[in-house]
Every structure is written in structure tokens, then in C-alpha cells.
């Protein structure tokens, strides 16, 4: 296999929190990302799934170096970006990693013309201006399917779907290698959503992009992803090719997660599965397997020993005591 675009090893991100117990203030840690290993090949789309608070955004923020990691390494394109200076990060790495946020309305500056919203990274990094800048922005607009006359409009003059296209054009301006999509379609209507997904797919093929996709909507993840990573309380519990994970998930958590998704073919509420209980605190995660407090197949060993990730098939890994490699 080729050298991966990103190789993450034993990555941890802990946030300090103070808990006030009457007299003593205790310092504790939220273990948002707690020992993650993963590799992303160039040209792949990775779907990151898991319940709210499992650490998806934190993981991505650390990969983008918007947050510093607590431990571990991130090798991007041969360089350990947890160790490089902020200047090096800005000059060499940042332009290669871009992010498209959930709500483009807020991530785009409302008082900026579309020309400048999309052109800002170009004027900063490539010192483009005047006609050259306009032409480059026009070609980006064309690429995301917006008319040229959008150049001199403000973001609020566009619909949600169109604003998302503007955000995509901006993210692609510097021809990045990796694009992080954090809930890219969750604030737009379903017709625009389908078009945005289609656009993202086409751009990926055309430009050879690598995507990391975060979405609560698993049908969106299914549509776009080549490989899926399932997280639970700061850890990866299962990862593998999208079709395998959707059709034959082996980890009890993944199974439960997917059985909870409503689909058009379901007739009855009883076909929807629930997971008992709540997600435990990331400050004091359960011992052993972190899912043991909610797992329908829990065994005595599960609360004592943490299961290691094993290969159940080529490219398909999971961490559960029920599995044998």
C-alpha cells in the first residue's frame, strides 16, 4: 500500500475541567480523544460517525491543529504536524488542509462580497489581486455550479444550498489535499442536500481530493464514504470499508447505531432499535470496554479488560471481546 496521506498514532486530546466539591477544587480531564490510531490514504473519503460528544470534532480540530494534541503523533504528508511550529504550519501545511463547516451562513463573513469570501485565501497565500483574483474566483464559482454574476453579491443573497457551494469554493481555492466536511449538509433542505453531495463527489473525483466527513445523518455518510470509522467515547470501536460497515458491522455498538436509523423500507416502529441508557461521562469513562454499560451482549470480562482492536478481515478492524481474528 502507498504511504498514507495521514497517519495518526496513539493520539490523545484531554481538556482540563474543574469540578467544585464544596471545599476542594479538583482538576480533572475530559478525555475527548483517548488513544486513536488511524491511516487515511490519498483520494479516500473517510466517514466519522458516533453519538454526540464522542470526540469527532475534537479529533478533526487536532488534525487541523486548531487544537494542540495532548499526546501522540500525526504524520501528514511525511511531516509530524504535532511538532512543527505554527509558522511552518501556516506556510506549508494549512493550505493543504481545509474545512467546510456545518452552517455556512456563520462561517462566511456576512459583510464580505462573494469575490472576497472565496478570494481571501488566494490573496493571502498567493498574493492574487485585481483581475487575476476575479478570474480565479470566477473559475471556482463555475466549478461549484454558481453563476459568474455571484461575484459581487453578499452571502445573505443566496439560499442555504448556494451558500454551502460558496463555502466549498472557498475551501477549494488553494487546491488542498485534504478537506474536512463537518456536517456539510445538515442545515440545508433535502433537495439541495442531494445536489451538494453530488457536487462533492464530482469534485473529489476531478481534483483527487481526500475527505474526512462528519455527519449525524448516516445516509449522507453512506453515500459519500469509502471507509467508515465508528467512535465511542473518544475511541475507535470499528473501522472498515463503507459497504462492509453498513452491511455487516461486527461491533455491538455499530450494529446498534445502524439499527436505530429510520429507513424508507421500515414499516413499523418496532424495527427501530434503541440503545439503553445514556452515553457515560468522558471524564470517568467506564473501565474495560467503554461500551459495557450499554452493550446488549456484555460479558463479565468486558468491565475488566479493555478489548484491543483486531483485524476481522482485510481492512476491517474492531475492538470487542466477542471477536476473533
Amino acid at each position: 500500500m502507498n504511504q498514507p496521506l495521514i497517519k495518526v498514532e496513539a493520539l490523545k486530546k484531554y481538556f482540563p475541567v474543574r469540578s467544585n466539591h464544596l471545599f476542594k477544587t479538583q482538576k480533572q480531564w475530559v478525555k475527548a480523544v483517548d488513544g486513536i490510531d488511524l491511516e487515511i490514504q490519498s483520494g479516500e473519503t473517510i466517514g466519522l460517525v458516533g453519538e454526540s460528544g464522542c470526540g469527532k470534532t475534537t479529533l478533526v480540530n487536532v488534525l487541523l491543529r486548531l487544537e494542540d494534541s495532548t499526546e501522540g503523533s500525526i504524520i501528514f504528508d511525511g511531516l509530524d504536524i504535532t511538532r512543527v511550529s505554527q509558522k511552518m504550519m501556516r506556510d506549508k501545511v494549512r493550505k493543504n488542509i481545509q474545512i467546510v463547516f456545518q452552517d455556512p451562513f456563520w462561517s462566511l463573513n456576512p459583510r464580505m462580497l462573494v469575490r472576497n469570501v472565496i478570494g481571501e485565501p488566494l490573496s493571502v497565500h498567493q498574493k492574487l489581486s485585481g483581475l487575476a483574483l476575479s478570474e480565479k474566483v470566477e473559475s471556482l464559482l463555475d466549478m461549484v455550479g454558481l453563476p459568474k454574476d455571484s461575484l459581487y453579491k453578499y452571502p445573505h443573497e443566496f439560499s442555504g444550498g448556494q451558500r454551502q457551494r460558496i463555502a466549498i469554493a472557498r475551501a477549494l481555492a488553494l487546491e488542498p489535499k485534504l478537506v474536512v466536511l463537518d456536517e456539510p449538509t445538515s442545515s440545508i433542505d433535502i433537495l439541495s442536500q442531494a445536489q451538494i453531495l453530488d457536487l462533492l463527489q464530482q469534485l473529489k473525483e476531478k481534483l483527487g481530493l481526500t475527505y474526512i466527513l462528519i455527519s449525524h445523518d448516516l445516509s449522507v455518510v453512506h453515500y459519500l464514504s469509502d471507509r467508515i470509522i465508528v467512535m465511542y467515547l473518544g475511541k475507535i470501536v470499528e473501522q472498515g470499508p463503507s459497504e462492509v460497515i453498513f452491511n455487516q458491522p461486527v461491533h455491538p455498538y455499530t450494529q446498534a447505531l445502524f439499527n436505530a436509523i429510520p429507513s424508507l423500507s421500515m414499516q413499523n416502529l418496532s424495527e427501530l432499535q434503541t440503545i439503553e441508557g445514556n452515553v457515560p461521562s468522558a471524564i470517568n469513562p467506564p473501565t474495560g470496554c467503554r461500551f459495557h454499560t450499554r452493550c446488549p451482549r456484555v460479558m463479565p470480562i468486558c468491565s475488566e479488560i479493555e478489548p484491543k482492536a483486531i483485524y476481522v478481515d482485510k481492512d476491517h478492524q474492531a475492538a470487542c471481546h466477542l471477536l476473533k481474528s
Binding site: 433535502i190 457536487l199 449525524h216 448516516l218 429510520p262 421500515m266
Partner: protein, 339 residues
């Protein structure tokens, strides 16, 4: 819901709601008719901005004033026109009593500075006149009803100490404490994880059966509405464009908008999306609200407004042979191809 002659338990007639803006009155809702029988679940689907929340607020007499204006129509509930009730009557008899509501954001309904107990106590004392031990007993009963664990402990917590799912269960407990006959649930699981969503839906479903409540369930997820509701209505820019048994609407959508909506739901990676080109035509001010995005619209669609018409479709007849006259309605001149 199909027979025009029967009286609905809940019925909206010729309702038209608008908002005052600088450019004049902007119409946002225009519903010719929508009926729900006793004990029936009706799911209203529509994208963001379609007017779903405005409808819920109108029913409850909570439309923001003075911007929101009811221009026309009536909302009959058990024979009474809610739009003709005074604010006092709405507050004393209907809202939070005979009509319960659950909104999409539990944090906005719960007061962050009060504990669960303080919030429930107020409601129960006001509604049932219970105090002290009796009130506590009743509160614990309600928390049990919504299947919250460890209720004695939980009752002293503040909203932020609870998970989204727990908060929504408390909202449901409070909303249904009054033994409502009619429940309006506006995207009650929108901000929850799928894993929590199923549990909340099962809970509402169980309570609906126990109390024989009628439910107006508002959602933007067609699959969910199909699973949860017997009937479904599709709202587009404030107009009901299709209505029928939810099964039939999903399996055999008649209106071009519903068809696009259903085909747009990505099913698998192997299934490519069916449309990628947007057709943007100018809006037809005096015509069909869907004209600007419709692929089959013709000249007359831009000058005439299609009304909801009844269709008798094969799928509706087959899949529900126990129901007489299964009828699907659509507001489109060319719905279903052949007429």
C-alpha cells in the same frame, strides 16, 4: 381522513397566515383543509421554512404578535374554533391542557435555573392542585411514565446536568401530565442522536396508544414520519401539496415535489442520486408554488393554482384493503401522469 362528510376531531379549513413585513403582508401558510381523527397520528413533512412551526404556533394561539397575522380560516378542535377563542380561554382550557406540545429544543422549554423538581412541581400544583408529598409522588409517577431511571436522584438535577434525551423525556412528562387529548410534536428528536431518537419515538407512540391521543407530528424526515404516522401530509411553501396514508405517499408519491423528495433520500452508495441539475425557473406568483422547481410544469401551471384533488391509486387500494376508499390527494394539474 378521507371521507369529507364525517366530522374530524381536529380540522383546519381554509387557513391562511401571513407575516407583516416592510414590503407588506407575506403569506406563509395556506392550507385548504387538513383533518385528524380521534386517536390518529398525522405526520407533516416539509423542509426548513415550509411553515411547519408557524402552523403549530397558530394552532396553539402562540403566533408572534403583531407580526404574525391570521388572514382567514378556522381551526376546529372538538367542535370549537380555536381561532375564535380568547387568549384567556386558550390559556385556561386548551394550551398545555387539552392540547399538549413538545418542541424541538428541550433546552428552550426547560428553565435552566430550576431543578427538574421545581419545574414539574409548578405545573402539577397549578394543574392538579397537589402539594407536598402528593405532588412529589405524582411527579415521580410522571418521570416513571417516561421511563427515566433513578427518578429520586434525577429530580434534583438541573437541565444542563442531563443528556438531550433525558431532557426531552422530562418535557414529554410535563407536556402529558395534563392528560391531553391532542399532542403537537414539532420535530421532537431533531437535536438528538439516532440512538436516542428511537427511544423517544417509542415512548410517544406508547403514550399515544395509552391515552388515545391524536398526534400532529412535524418532521423533516420522510422515513420517520412513515414509520411513526398513519397519515402523512407534505407541506411546500406553506401549502399542503400531497396527503394520504403515509405508506401510500412514500410508495407511490403523486406530486412532483414528493417524488423528488423521496428519490432524493440517498439509500446506498451504489444508488446514484437521480438529479444533479437544478432547474430554476422564475417563480409563478399566481400559479403553482412548485412551478419554479418543477420539471413537468406547463404553461397553465404558472397562471393557475392547483387545488388538492383526490386520486385512487393502485397501491392505496392494494396495501390497505381493510380501508374503504383509500384516497390520496395531490395539488398538481399533472399528478400521477394519467388522471
Amino acid at each position: 381522513m378521507t371521507d369529507q362528510k364525517t366530522q374530524f376531531y381536529f380540522e383546519i379549513k381554509d387557513l391562511s397566515v401571513g407575516f407583516r413585513t416592510f414590503e407588506g403582508i407575506k403569506p406563509v401558510l395556506n392550507i385548504e383543509g387538513l383533518g385528524i381523527n380521534r386517536g390518529e397520528t398525522y405526520g407533516l413533512v416539509g423542509e426548513s421554512g415550509a411553515g411547519k412551526t408557524v402552523l403549530a404556533l397558530t394552532i396553539l394561539g402562540l403566533l408572534p404578535k403583531p407580526a404574525g397575522m391570521i388572514l382567514n380560516g378556522s381551526i376546529l378542535f372538538d367542535g370549537v374554533d380555536l381561532l375564535k377563542q380568547s387568549e384567556k380561554q386558550m390559556a385556561e382550557i386548551y394550551r398545555g391542557k387539552r392540547l399538549a406540545m413538545i418542541f424541538q429544543d428541550p433546552m428552550s422549554t426547560l428553565n435552566p435555573v430550576f431543578t427538574v423538581w421545581q419545574q414539574i412541581e409548578r405545573v402539577i400544583t397549578r394543574q392538579e392542585g397537589l402539594k407536598g408529598k402528593a405532588c412529589l409522588k405524582r411527579s415521580l409517577e410522571l418521570l416513571d411514565m417516561v421511563k427515566l431511571p433513578d427518578t429520586m436522584n434525577l429530580i434534583d438535577k438541573y437541565p444542563h446536568e442531563l443528556s438531550g434525551g433525558q431532557r426531552q423525556r422530562i418535557i414529554i412528562a410535563i407536556a402529558l401530565s395534563c392528560g391531553a387529548e391532542f399532542l403537537i410534536a414539532d420535530e421532537p428528536t431533531r437535536n438528538l442522536d439516532v440512538t436516542i431518537q428511537a427511544g423517544i419515538l417509542k415512548l410517544i407512540d406508547e403514550l399515544q396508544r395509552d391515552f388515545k391521543m391524536s398526534v400532529l407530528f412535524i418532521g423533516n424526515n420522510v422515513s420517520l414520519v412513515n414509520i411513526f404516522c398513519r397519515n402523512a401530509g407534505i407541506l411546500y411553501r406553506g401549502k399542503l401539496v400531497e396527503e394520504g396514508l403515509s405508506n401510500c405517499v412514500v410508495q407511490n408519491p403523486l406530486h412532483p415535489y414528493t417524488q423528488t423528495l423521496i428519490s432524493a433520500i440517498p439509500r446506498s452508495k451504489s444508488e446514484k442520486l437521480k438529479f444533479s441539475k437544478t432547474i430554476i425557473k422564475p417563480e409563478a406568483e399566481n400559479g403553482c408554488p412548485y412551478f419554479s422547481r418543477c420539471t413537468i410544469g406547463k404553461e397553465n401551471c404558472s397562471t393557475h393554482v392547483p387545488m388538492l384533488r383526490e386520486f385512487r391509486t393502485e397501491s392505496s387500494a392494494e396495501s390497505l384493503n381493510d380501508i374503504q376508499n383509500p384516497v390520496q390527494k395531490a395539488a398538481c394539474f399533472y399528478a400521477g401522469g394519467t388522471i
